[in-house]
Symmetry: C2
Subunit: 332 residues, 2 copies
């Protein structure tokens, strides 16, 4: 687990979108974000207290989290100076960058000299077991998608927020870099060795109280030629009681696969349920989550209504409408 609270490092973000990770932490786990550190020219702003490293240390910050994508795939000297200062003054560093902190000799040396941790959350640090398939206690909900990047993490986080508000015991379970940085822990599933994928999800969602829900972040799609195996491992490792199908209606083809049509919500729902029932006979699809960001208010409302009518399942946009009806259906 990554020590909290965090200082969100926004670097010299060229635009707000580059600071997607920081935005995720700010939106979904604001309590851990003690402040932000921006370099000259930074175009992102989380509306947190701006802090120097010294101020962050004084405020009790434990970890500097790199909340921004780096330009050109390099950790620049400007960044390195700040990161080294953070290590020297007693903070750990956490990063989801493709360029690993551990591949930077200066940072490795500084971390070692000062007894600090470098968390590269893209790389698994746990020796996961082979999945046993044994039924576990507690309940699990998994977000499955028609495609990659259709809102599976957002949906699971929105459900956690809604359920917490209702005092239903629940835990968001991160399976990707951003989710791991938001919560402080999880499984970077796309980097797990094939044989241990399902086992890593069993490890992530262990036995729990009968009324506790794990809300598992989905990855990929059963229909995505590049990543479908990852998705199936999530279903079989997660043993979900409840599935929520996530969809983005304006996409013209599968992400990264120009020759592939996005499947229908119904096709994904049927296939995911078939797969889930192999490991949990009681699995159900409890709702549909749509990312309507590209639609007007009216288009979005019409679309949600039409999908709800077609499938007879509560259909929400977690951002526009909230996921209350999906949680209602899941708890019913």
């Amino acid at each position: 687990m990554i020590a909290q609270p965090y200082l969100l490092f926004l670097g010299d973000a060229p635009d707000p979108l580059a600071a997607k990770v920081a935005q995720g932490i700010k939106d979904w786990n604001p309590a851990v974000a003690a402040g932000q550190l921006r370099l000259p020219g930074c175009k992102a702003d989380m509306k947190l207290t701006d802090m120097t490293i010294d101020e962050a240390v004084a405020a009790g910050v434990k970890t500097l989290v790199i909340g921004v994508a780096n330009r050109g795939g390099l950790i620049s000297d400007t960044w390195k100076a700040v990161l080294k200062e953070a290590l020297e003054k007693g903070m750990d560093i956490a990063s989801g960058l493709h360029n690993l902190l551990r591949d930077e000799p200066e940072l490795v040396a500084a971390a070692k000299a000062h007894g600090r941790e470098l968390h590269d959350v893209r790389i698994p640090t746990v020796k996961y077991p082979i999945a046993s398939g044994v039924k576990r206690k507690g309940k699990r909900c998994l977000a499955v998608g028609t495609d990659c990047s259709v809102g599976k993490m957002y949906t699971a986080l929105a459900m956690e927020k809604e359920m917490a508000k209702r005092s239903i015991p629940c835990t968001f379970r991160a399976t990707g870099q951003t989710g791991i940085l938001i919560t402080g822990g999880g499984v970077p599933l796309d980097a797990v060795i094939a044989d241990f994928m399902a086992g890593s999800i069993e490890w992530l969602t262990p036995d729990a109280a009968d009324d506790h829900w794990d809300l598992i972040e989905g990855q990929g799609s059963l229909f995505h030629a590049s990543y479908s195996g990852v998705t199936l491992a999530l279903i079989h490792g997660g043993q979900p009681d409840a599935l929520v199908v996530c969809h983005e209606p304006t996409r013209e083809h599968m992400r990264g696969l120009p020759d592939y049509q996005v499947p229908s919500i119904g096709a994904v729902s049927d296939l995911a349920l078939t797969m889930a029932k192999m490991v949990n006979a009681g699995a159900k699809v409890v709702g549909i989550s749509i990312n309507t960001a590209a639609m007007s208010d009216e288009e979005a409302a019409d679309y949600l209504k039409a999908v709800e009518a077609e499938y007879g399942l509560p259909t929400c946009d977690p951002f526009r409408t909230g996921v209350g009806p999906i949680v209602d259906a899941m708890m019913a």
Copy 2:
């Protein structure tokens, strides 16, 4: 690729079963097996010429292949003496053991000193791409199973043999350790990083002549809670034109999963076809391959006949009856 021909190292095999890898090479690629090396007490015999390291060198052997499982998960000092001699005298070593050659400092030093290669075929050495899903030229057949270890490798190898006999251009594509040692190359799929699984199979089965068949070794089962993701990556990366369903009829539960029933041949056939059609609309199930080793001749004949009648597909035991009718159906 592993340099050929091979000297098959049988070590001090406690019984013939321990030399399964050597047996696979002897059965399926005898031309590469120049001889065998047995230590005192060895209970396995491939009926190959017994050779010392010097004799093997004189016979032109390029690689000593460890064809036997090691006892207790240790590479013993007795073994090491032979392996070091092989390196010193100019041979590479190939191994599918869990204990890696590269983790043995003496072997690493000897290989380095003499410019030889240590092939740990359990570990990928290629940086595989993310799968593109782009349709490739040539034809592909994939063995899928109701469970693990039901005869998928054996079936694909038997088909290769049968097709070679008929002068049909074809290549067996190994996806597991034994298959890789038999052919000299392949993808150790169970050890590939999740994101690159399907891509590794695209890499393994590239564009080929229109009439060429890749015969892809299957892994796991879509119904196996521990390994299903690996199987789906094989289907989506392999883009099979033809599927052969493999089954072992006497198994009481899924391998390693006492709580899970083995699915029916029909269920596997339907689901594998659904998955294959996502990436290859023309995919077909062309036959059923049964491992009847645990049955009497009469039981086996009755069983094959009954399955063939139930599914209307050529049904063979690759060992007892050969796979001729499956190849007929595939080529029709």
